[in-house]
């Protein structure tokens, strides 16, 4: 008997038992669907993190007031100890000296605090920075402007707010020129940051920016949480980072600062998201395995139920090989069809996920291929045993079977 005939015979048998075939496939559908969907979410998160880190600019160097070992595990590192923050405004000067120009250095003093508009209050992060923060980080304003060096030096009560802050406090009205009240002080809104969107679950538009000098006065706190440096060229990033380390080691202990380049962060973030992706894929893989066992179970039941059919086929000349092929093709058809439906559901799920959560889900061709090949292997692996069992039935015993 030809392969094509086996396929037709198998399809006919599956069609004769539509409900059962569907339920059997369900295991594979869910397995393949969840493998593809979860891996897509994982790799989507990865590419999102990568691009948002790359968005920082490849020349960017970040100096933080604690020991950060990006190669090691998160557990070793522990939570950043802000209480021990030894950075001061002088530290910024030292970094500026190391780089050769304080124009390429900006500090950040962050506080999460209430801002009151006319009617509403907004609880969000305020980033007190140098006047050059936006140009170093390549951020634009969508309306108004960023504060100037003069405004920073004279500690003016001005603020640039994010899109989410603007919408929550002022609705559709243009907030530029209006005031917000922070710790009882009226602060003038001079600009709105361009729309940045979300990175994973963090809303980049919930941040507001004010001169560091103003922030120090408002918060009564003058230790920068972070110092941002822009190296002259991409090629000089590592050399610049080295100079900063040398300079800071004169005044700070080795566990009181870290100098991190964009490529450090990138490789660290990628190693974490890679683990995440494998973990998700592995979990989903288990459900695919369970789906495969479901196929085997149903095929075994089917062999018993169809003992008489097998006997009849053998009596009219079916060989062991023919019966084997028929049952194997049935198992394969179930797993491949289930795989195909799973792929479609996963793509649909990814689209839905993106639409609802505004997070990227990356459905790649290779993961579809992988899931498909895997579901085929599941079909073969779990189909062979029932098929062998069917093909070895004794024709007379089978014909007598009631």
């Amino acid at each position: 008997m030809k392969i094509l005939e086996s396929v037709i015979t198998a399809l006919t048998a599956l069609r004769a038992n539509k409900m059962r075939s569907l339920l059997t496939m369900l295991g594979v559908i869910i397995g393949v669907g969840s493998v593809i969907l979860l891996v897509s979410l994982g790799s989507g998160a990865r590419s999102e993190i990568t691009s948002s880190i790359q968005g920082l600019g490849s020349n960017l160097i970040v100096v933080v007031p604690f020991k950060m070992q990006l190669g090691g595990s998160m557990m070793q590192q522990g939570a950043p100890q802000f209480a021990l923050n030894k950075f001061t405004l002088k530290t910024m000067d030292e970094v500026g000296k190391a780089v050769g120009s304080s124009d390429m250095v900006s500090g950040e003093i962050q506080r999460t605090i209430y801002m009151s508009g006319d009617r509403n209050r907004y609880f969000g992060m305020i980033n007190g920075t140098s006047y050059n923060e936006f140009s170093l980080r390549d951020i634009q304003t969508s309306s108004g402007r960023f504060f100037t060096k003069a405004e920073e030096e004279s500690a003016r009560l001005v603020i640039v707010i994010g899109q989410t802050v603007a919408r929550d406090l002022f609705g559709e009205n243009d907030p530029v020129g209006q005031y917000v009240t922070i710790k009882g002080r009226k602060v003038k809104i001079i600009g709105v940051q361009e729309f940045k969107g979300k990175t994973l679950m963090f809303d980049n538009d919930s941040i507001s920016w004010m001169p560091m000098t103003t922030a120090i006065q408002l918060f009564g706190y003058s230790h920068p949480n972070m110092i941002v440096v822009k190296a002259p060229t991409t090629g000089s990033v590592n050399a610049t980072a080295g100079k900063i380390r040398d300079e800071l080691s004169k005044t700070l202990a080795s566990d009181e600062y870290s100098v991190i380049t964009q490529s450090d962060i990138l490789s660290f973030a990628q190693s974490i998201t890679k683990i995440l992706t494998y973990l998700l894929g592995g979990l989903a893989g288990i459900s695919l395995l369970v789906g495969g066992i479901g196929i085997m179970n149903i095929m075994l039941v089917s062999v018993t139920e169809r003992t008489r059919e097998i006997g009849i086929r053998k009596a009219v000349g079916a060989k062991t090989r023919d019966i084997m092929l028929q049952f194997l093709v049935e198992a394969l058809t179930l797993s491949l069809l289930g795989g195909a439906i799973g792929v479609m559901l996963a793509i649909g799920g990814a689209v839905l996920y993106t639409a609802i959560f505004h997070l990227r889900a990356q459905v790649t061709a290779w993961i579809i291929m992988l899931a498909f090949v895997f579901s085929m292997l599941v079909g073969i692996f779990f189909g062979v045993y029932p098929a062998r069992k069917a093909s070895r039935l004794d024709p007379i015993e089978s014909l007598r079977y009631e």
């Binding site: 009849i312 086929r313 053998k314 000349g317």
Partner: protein
Amino acid sequence: MDAIIRAVDLVKHYSMGDQLVEALRGVSLEVLRGEFLVIMGASGSGKSTLMHIMGCLDHPTSGSLNIDGDDISSVSAGRLAELRNKKIGFVFQQFNLLARTTAVHNVELPLLYAGVNSADRRRRATAALQRVGLGHRLGHYPNQLSGGEQQRVAIARALINDSPIIMADEPTGNLDTRSGVEILNILDELHGAGMTLVMVTHEREVAERGDRIVHIRDGLIQNGEAVAVKAGGFGDAAGTPPQGGGGGTS
């Protein structure tokens, strides 16, 4: 007339639980080409086992069996399947049609395993069904057909691959008298057209349709008819006539 089936000293043992059943205890039998042979016996006499072995569904424990030139005792399972496909057509008491499969597809089945293409299969299956008077029932499922019609589908299936031998195991056992007579008439017709028929039955009336009757009891052939053939009685005249019903021990 040459023998199309030649069985010599067939023994079949099988175990049932921890009991050894001696189903056949040395059966020698020849079936002539074109003959209508009837095997009679009570249930448990070994008649079905004999038919299964002659029909290549089962291997004998010992003894030799030659079917249309092939020595069965020593062939592989694959070759046995081929012989069932090409040399033998089965008609069972239970009809044994595939449920949820139309009459015409049931009839096509042997050709499927013979590797015939689908257009030829359909054409030949239609012709075979017409031959048994079911040309108008091609697309019906077994559960839409009467018992007699189902058995006719089974006969069409047995005919389709031009097998020279038809093995009928109690073909009328599940049918009312009228349908039974119809089926026997069709079998008679096939016999008339030159096919070799081997039929197992325990009904005297049915058995008398045959050319010759052998009785089997406790795994052994009882009456002298088969013995006469074995002694060299074949090759004389066409179809050894049935020799009375004297030994009607059924």
